[in-house]
Symmetry: C2
DNA sequence: TAAAAATTGTTTGTGTACAAATAGACTGTG
DNA sequence: CACAGTCTATTTGTACACAAACAATTTTTA
């Protein structure tokens, strides 16, 4: 292949996305030091649902069973989420946000919006919309 | 705030990107089971440069000092990269790809291109270009 | 030149992320 | 009813990713 040396790392979608995600996470943790993006996502979803089993919550937040377990454990450890065995299905763990969890969620929502906004700040409004549309097709 | 409940997780740039990255990594490891995306990035860059210090390589591949160390250690462990202390600066570790590392790189380049292509396959050519332009602004 | 500042690499600790294996519990079908 | 398959949660192991602290070495600069 005569073009075997023309692989530009910096032009690969994976590499570029890794950098964008890094920047996003940096913005997130500067605006919301209380929680990680993943923890916040789980809390958001649980507040939205009211309650869910652990696996269910994982599915809805795109987290692996092992990953969601760790995330939920940490949220429980901080008193933001309550876990109770479900009588009608002994396999399941029913998760609910605690009052504390709900308060924190409400406190952080506006900050979270700011995180998204700041992440997209190098783009115009139209470009941001464009980007979201395109990314959605890849998700 | 009357809009405090209108935080749609699925519409946030961070959430969507996490999902896209997940998909990309899945494609990568199905096409290139030999290396992780990060390891491949480091190998690519090192082959391109011929040689580099560890920190330098980290900077050029957007990896933290602790991260690049782990990645390089694993590449060294597999005989793909050689590390030698630099006489003229005793702090530095000079990294070079081994012949084996170069061979593997050349063998995987076309697959790597396929990874990018497959990741972008839900988009048209024009859309892909558009996306890359937009992401580049956020990187 | 001597002290301050910066750089390189290492280590430790925390937090995703996924694969694979396991145990216990449910569901469906024969 | 039994049992095969499915589902939930846990555990273990590997691999990023970053913060913070450290030692050893340059480099600056006063």
């Amino acid at each position: 292949m005569e073009d075997s040396d023309s692989y530009i790392l910096e032009s690969q979608i994976g590499f570029v996305m890794r950098r964008v995600v890094q920047r996003h996470i940096a913005i997130f943790s500067s605006l919301i030091p209380d929680l990680t993006p993943t923890q916040f996502a789980a809390l958001v979803k649980l507040c939205e649902l009211g309650q869910a089993s652990q696996n269910e919550l994982g599915r809805l937040t795109s987290m692996d069973v092992a990953t969601i377990k760790g995330v939920v454990d940490r949220l429980r450890g901080r008193g933001l989420v309550l876990a109770e065995p479900l009588a009608s299905d002994k396999r399941r763990l029913t998760l609910t946000p605690t009052p504390q969890g709900k308060v924190l969620f409400r406190k952080l929502v506006s900050r979270a919006r700011e995180v998204s906004q700041q992440t997209l700040s190098p783009l115009s409004e139209a470009e941001s919309q464009q980007l979201m549309v395109l990314l959605r097709k890849l998700g």
